[in-house]
Amino acid sequence: MEEKIQGKTVWKFGDNFNADLIVGSKYIAESNAEVLGEVCLRDFDPEFAKRVQPGDVMIAGKNFGYGHPHQQGIVSLKKVGVAALVAESFYPLWYRMAIFYAFPIVICPGITQNVNPDDLLEIEFSTGNIVNVTTRQKMKAEPVPTFLMEVLQSGGLIKHLQKK
């Protein structure tokens, strides 16, 4: 995982966004990452998988990943190259699953007020410093607990266990 990234805000989710809506309920048993990438947010924007660029970032409201957090949504976001998802807060099991898959997630209260689609965001994971480069607004994310940061930096839970 890179220490610091800069990416365009490609998507803004509302509050309590249901984890299954990322790929659609139809794909919650799918294990092929290629397929999951192709259907990423398709029900909201059929062109999304073509439009998103590797390195883009997403922001979300409260409690992102609500419901029954099947991992397919995380695999899908990783496959299309989303570099980070910054939310007001996360649904606990979605947060855990994101750590498992080393998908960079950041909790930053106030993010939805300060960032809009297409804004360029700079995120420094170790300090939690976030800058909206487009508006020059600075924000502070909650620090990721040390152990979880180690898992993220190892490349996910399985790689972390292998290292130990």
């Binding site: 029954h68 099991l93 498992f100 266990l161």
Partner: protein, 411 residues
Amino acid sequence: MSLTISQKIIAAKCGRDQVTPGEIVHVEPDLVMLYDWPGFDGLMKNINIDPDRVALNIDHYFSPPNEQIAKLHRNFRSTVKKFGIKKFYDVGKTGIGFQLYAEEGLILPGTFVAHADPHVSTLGAFGAYCLGIGSDVISIFLTGKAWIKVPETIRINIHGSFGRHVTSRDLFEKIVADIGPDGAQGKVIEFSGPGLAGMSMESRMVLCNSVQYLSAETAIIPPDEITRAYLSGKTKEPWQEVLGDEDASYSEVLDYDLSTLEPMVVTPPDVFYIKTVQEVAGTKIDQAIIGTCAGGRMEDLRIAAAILKDHPVAPGVRFMITPITPAIMADASREGLIEIFVKAGALVGPPSCGTCYGGLAQMLPGEVCISTGTMNVPGRLGSTEADIYMANPAVVTASAVCGKITDPRSL
């Protein structure tokens, strides 16, 4: 320091005297469970722990609908053989795990139970700490441990008793309506109070079934006489009951009087859009379902039969009833309930999760279902343009016989 029941169990499972909410600890669960979902077989390639700490069952596919699932089942069977897992429930001897494991006496008060699926909170009704941790179960298979963040506890005191055609499901939906979908984010819900004395283990399991929709970690009910009576004769294993300290601190304490509740209906497009049955009465339905891990227990089936013995299923409605386990199927048969269902025109199916996640009962655009299921996110049962309502078994059955969402108290 005074601890809640959950904090005490967590402390014991990480070898400590106490734990503090917010800290991350590594616990050693007593039992880790999985069911037959594509990909879960891959989490069990290496099982380094005592095989008696592992329980597996078939419930999402009661019979393989294709070769992919047939292979999944074969992989489960070869895993069981390879690692010497005795707690395995295969086709014909299995039902929905979140009831089956209770019937088998595997869920003991004071223990820590892990599963990939957060609906395992259902079994928190036994005074066990039951946590859904997704793919992290692999960590338990490999190292015996999993990380958890020690939660704060919300205590909900229950008073009074349920009115006619109101069940513990309605209490749960009322709590969701009151505190909202993130109202218990990262916390554990502890149910307590004098009203529990009138609630059976079945009713308690339904109450604890879906606390994930409050974004809670899980739910727990301190063990009592009703818990012990249920477990009596089901296990030879000893257990050590854990109770919270009387002066333990709670992040919030809420009170509910069961006698003031009424039947609730979860409406599309997600589980936190909740109304009273009167607000949605009259909505035409095409399909009705009693089953899933939130329904299909004896009490649910008796409620359905009490209505169906005098009222046939409405023309044009497909009503499917799936008893939750083979034992419940047998009990329902012995009581004559199955015959009532069949004569009324309901389809009785084998125990399966299929009617909840869309393995069965798929719908077309514009169709409407009312179910005792657990999720109604668009596309859950086929088309994303089909609507899923969810309610207690009395509302579902009353709706099935009237062809539209109906308050069972009006029949």
